[in-house]
């Protein structure tokens, strides 16, 4: 049963990185699309939402094409920095990040659009610069919605299976995350291990939800369960 902790820790590491990356990218792009009007905005929104509706294996295939050894990004990383992402835990992070991205992006965009512009105008008249207006007014007022998106993204990233398997494979101890380990255990007929892995995964998810309730009492959890 000790074998269960390695995939758990790997899963938490991958999901945490994916959440941090999505926090930056999702907030940035969510703000951009909430505030700027430019031609092709709706198309960009659709493209950025695509990972939510595409089958994860299709997404994984796209990623392989892009970051694989012969892919445009993969080949460039290889020649410039000697970095290879395929079959590494960093590759799993990329897969989990892309799959979970729309959850943060959508929540952030909606949250920014819900902020009454009058608060920002009040801040400007009070002498604050644009970065100060963002960090002192806009972001705090949108934070609840963004936080809900981040939590969903963390949950989605830790449960990622299809795209991760395509990009990072299932190397025990290196890229085998919890959900992949469950699949492998069942396939190999290791029922005891599968039971234990499933239990660990379930307890972890409950712990995450409880932590969410503790971070923002009654709000984030309610939002996930309720309106959005």
């Amino acid at each position: 049963m000790e074998g269960a902790w390695i995939p758990l820790l790997l899963t938490l590491k991958v999901a945490a990185w994916a959440t941090v990356l999505n926090m930056v990218a999702g907030i940035g792009l969510g703000l951009l699309l909430a505030r700027l009007r430019f031609p092709g905005r709706d198309l960009l929104d659709a493209v950025l939402t695509l990972p939510m509706v595409l089958p994860p294996t299709v997404l994984g295939y796209y990623l392989l094409v892009l970051i694989g050894r012969n892919g445009p990004i993969g080949a460039w990383l290889q020649t410039q920095f000697g970095i290879n992402l395929v079959f590494t835990w960093q590759g799993a992070v990329i897969a989990a990040t892309v799959v979970a991205f729309p959850l943060v992006f959508k929540s952030a965009r909606a949250a920014f659009e819900a902020v009454d512009p009058e608060f920002e105008q009040a801040a400007r008249v009070l002498g604050r610069s644009e970065p100060a207006v963002f960090f002192r007014v806009t972001l705090p007022l949108a934070w609840r919605g963004i936080m809900a998106g981040l939590l969903l993204a963390f949950a989605r990233a830790s449960g990622e299976f299809g795209a991760t398997l395509m990009v990072a494979g299932s190397l025990p101890g290196r890229t085998q995350t919890l959900s992949i380990a469950v699949y492998e255990a069942v396939q190999a007929g290791q029922d005891a291990l599968a039971n234990f892995l499933v239990l660990v995964a379930s307890v972890t998810c409950v712990a995450v939800l409880l932590a969410a309730g503790w971070i923002a009492p009654g709000r984030v959890a309610g939002r996930i369960a309720g309106s959005r």
Binding site: F119, A123, V125, S129, L141
Partner: protein, 277 residues
């Protein structure tokens, strides 16, 4: 259209000592509604009232004076300082205009306490003040407006009068050059209005900063209208001036010269859109 030195509409106002010198034009289009705003007035009054029915363009005018909207043409000068001048290419950003702006519904930051809201105007940087800000000016305004007891409460927990005082304190703490108020008493119940009107009048007299109120309430006009301009359908339609403080201003309306040359077509269009709305 007009030369730099001309001050249309109010030939009787001494130009050099003018506190308010506003000349702005803007074509507004919103949700199929078209509106021509052409507002020109100049005044040396320390307490000026811009009054007229809702939809006349009062708030738009005030927003452009504060820098929250950009006129298509014209200029804005307050207390001798040019804040906007299309021909000279001047457009001072809102954060540098030094205007205190009181929003109709106060726009208090809902995520900040009363003390943090007031500290917003003096706290620099990218972070908000701590829950109990240590600013002498903040403490002074909390005391002045009797808000010390609710300093740690959030706006949603306040009464209407406390909200207005918090918004005023927040606007005044940074020592603004002028005070712009958008229907400041509309959100209050009638009993409270008279009292807060007196408070504001006393405060203005004490601080001696120019004050511009937009309102459709005659009581505001009587209390603060050292001079008043009537706004209708996007342009100045009349002027009232207080000659004796005890005179009821309501009896003394005369048309402004400039308004007759205003764009009649624009007014017609505005009337149509108002009827449609």
């Amino acid at each position: 259209m007009t030369g730099n030195g001309s001050r249309p509409g109010t030939g009787s106002t001494p130009g050099a000592s003018s506190v308010w010198d506003v000349n702005l034009r803007r074509h507004l289009q919103h949700a199929g509604r078209r509106f021509e705003l052409d507002v020109r007035f100049a005044s040396a009054a320390r307490r000026l009232v811009l009054f007229g029915p809702s939809g006349a363009g009062k708030t738009q005018t005030l927003r452009m004076i504060a820098g929250l909207g950009t006129p298509d043409a014209g200029h804005v000068r307050v207390a001798g300082r040019t804040l906007f001048d299309r021909t000279a290419g001047i457009d001072v950003p809102a954060r540098k205009r030094g205007m205190a702006y009181l929003f109709q519904d106060y726009a208090l930051f809902p995520h900040l306490t009363v003390a943090q809201n007031i500290a917003f105007g003096v706290q620099r940087g990218w972070l908000n003040a701590a829950r109990e800000p240590r600013h002498e000016a903040v403490d002074r305004w909390l005391r002045t407006f009797e808000l010390t007891a609710v300093a740690r409460q959030y706006p949603e927990q306040l009464s209407g009068g406390q909200r207005q005082r918090t918004a005023l304190a927040r606007a005044l703490v940074a020592q603004p050059r002028a005070l712009l108020l958008d229907e400041p008493f509309v959100a209050l119940d009638p009993a409270l209005r008279a009292r807060l009107r007196d408070e504001l009048a006393d405060l203005q007299a004490e601080l001696a900063i120019p004050l511009l109120i937009i309102t459709h309430d005659e009581a505001d006009l009587r209390r603060f209208g050292d001079e008043a301009f009537e706004l209708a359908d996007g342009s100045i339609a009349g002027q009232r001036r207080r000659t004796d403080t005890r005179t009821d201003l309501g009896s003394e309306v005369r048309p402004v010269r400039g308004s007759e040359t205003g764009p009649a077509c624009g007014r017609d269009r505005a009337t149509q859109t108002r009827a449609a709305a």
